[in-house]
């Protein structure tokens, strides 16, 4: 009996998928650098990539206070959005009357582009960190409220009865049973909400802060310092990516118990 062996023809070198992805990213970046340096595109609008990157590296050292301000604003906004959103969502999910009463307001927040409140907030709170924080909260909280409310409503009656039978007190039922049961949906809402909070804070800083990364974007835009504008934008993107990554990790660790 003859042995049959098949040998696949392999290329002398192979490119992995990641390799292709990296190559794909390199091309537009290269085009950027060349187009800018060669004068093909006005370097006021498109500074060379290398200059923008250099500027980005230096930016936190140049303007540490702005970074701290934005960081603090984001932190405060996230905490309020997270805790407040979940709490309100639980109340709405558990209480039909309140849910019906506030339903209209919730829909309004969903539909309205929150940015329109900027002027109102400036009038109310003046220039400073409050406006970005409020805008951030308003942008993100609706998603946390909505998905928490839905998650809470879906918690099975049996689990709730388990809580009741074994003596759960007023605050124990939501804390020990309802919220944990609704965690998957709450997490999904938080993930979306986090991104929106970031946008809200930065946009707030465009208009109404005296400091912050968003403020820097506007300031350097006005100065026509395009390298620093791009640098600031890059930092916003970095923050967004980090937040997203951290969130996805947290979400994954919470959902390990889910039955298949």
């Amino acid at each position: 009996m003859a042995d049959v062996t098949a040998t696949a023809k392999t290329a002398p070198w192979t490119i992995s998928r990641t390799g292709v992805k990296l190559l794909g990213m390199m091309v537009p970046l290269l085009i950027w650098e060349v187009a800018s340096r060669s004068g093909l595109v006005n370097s006021v609008f498109l500074p060379p990539l290398t200059r923008a990157l250099l500027s980005a590296l230096v930016l936190p050292v140049e303007s540490p206070l702005d970074f701290l301000t934005t960081g603090a604003e984001i932190l405060v906004a996230l905490i309020v959005t997270g805790l407040g959103g979940v709490a309100i969502g639980v109340v709405l999910g558990r209480n039909e009357t309140i849910d019906a009463l506030l339903g209209g307001l919730i829909w309004f927040l969903y539909a309205a582009p929150v940015v329109v409140f900027t002027t109102l907030f400036i009038v109310l709170f003046g220039v400073g960190p409050t406006v970005p924080i409020c805008l951030g909260i308003l942008s993100g909280i609706i998603f946390v409220i909505a998905s928490t409310r839905d998650g809470v409503r879906e918690v099975g009656a049996e689990l709730i009865n388990v809580g009741r039978v074994f003596g759960a007190r007023r605050l124990e039922l939501p804390l020990k049973i309802i919220i944990p049961a609704a965690i998957p949906m709450i997490m999904a809402g938080l993930r979306v909400g986090v991104g929106r909070v970031l946008v809200g804070v930065i946009v707030g800083e465009f208009f109404a802060a005296g400091s912050g990364i968003g403020y820097l974007i506007v300031k350097y835009g006005n100065d026509l310092d395009s390298a620093r504008v791009y640098a600031s934008v890059l930092w916003v993107i970095v923050v967004s990516l980090v937040l997203n990554f951290v969130f996805a990790r947290i979400e994954r660790s919470f959902v390990t118990w889910r039955a298949v």
Partner: protein, 248 residues
């Protein structure tokens, strides 16, 4: 007892003595789950009273612990933490004693090696054992079981029944057990309440009269067959089909 505008139970009078193992058998929709929920305090009667040891029931509580059907374990907690739930909210014992009692009950139901596993890692029968351990650790006056073995396959169901009796023998708690199965009712209990169509209430109250402990030989006894036939024909009559009831 009425739901919205539908009366489900009416003119029901039932006395249960301490230490009895009572089963309620009945057709679907006869109100047996409603009855259990009323005794548990999960529902309030629209008229009439339910008393335990002479005192009327105002709401659910660990003194009337319930063993639910399958989906009642908290999936984000381990077996140990689930069983601890039976005691932790009562604030009767300090934390380490709660843990010790929980472990003891986990061992009692034969799941010692699985104490740190999660419900989704266990089989249906094992999950029901955890349900049972959790109800027992709460030291209830009455144990209420709502078709606890309904979601299990026939063999596991019988094994669980034997397990239940083995554990029950140790403490002799009052048990109110609901089932569809006439044979399961006879095997487990001392007294069988048969319920018919909705609103017909209790159609029979039977003394089982078989010796304990119940072993598999019980099924061969004439009294077993007699009761089995009696219950099936009662339920068949009640359902108005006239044929033998489709009871396992």
């Amino acid at each position: 007892m009425a739901f919205a505008s539908r009366v489900v139970l009416s003119d029901l009078n039932l006395d249960i003595a301490d230490g009895d193992f009572i089963t309620i058998v009945g057709l679907s929709g006869c109100g047996k789950t409603t009855l259990l929920n009323l005794v548990a305090g999960l529902l309030q009667p629209t008229s009439g009273t339910i008393t335990v040891d002479g005192a009327p029931i105002k709401g659910p509580g660990p003194a009337r612990a319930v063993v639910f059907q399958d989906a009642a374990l908290l999936p984000w907690r381990t077996v140990l933490r689930n069983v601890e739930l039976g005691l932790e909210m009562q604030r009767r014992y300090p934390k380490d004693e709660v843990r010790e009692r929980a472990l003891r009950h986990i061992e009692m139901v034969g799941l010692k090696e699985f104490a740190n596993d999660y419900p989704h890692q266990l089989s249906g029968g094992m999950r029901q054992r955890v349900n049972l351990a959790r109800a027992l650790v709460a030291e209830p006056d009455v144990l209420l079981m709502d078709e606890p073995f309904a979601a299990l396959d026939a063999h596991t169901r019988e094994t669980m029944g034997d397990e239940l009796l083995r554990i029950w023998q140790q403490s002799r708690k009052t048990v109110l057990f609901i089932t569809h199965s006439a044979d399961e009712a006879i095997m487990l209990s001392d007294r069988i309440i048969a319920m018919g169509k909705p609103l017909h209430g209790i159609i029979a109250d039977l003394k089982v009269g078989l010796p304990r402990p119940r072993s598999v030989e019980i099924r061969g006894m004439p009294r077993f067959a007699e009761l089995s036939l009696q219950i099936r024909s009662l339920l068949a009559q009640a359902s108005g089909s006239g044929k033998g009831a489709s009871q396992p």
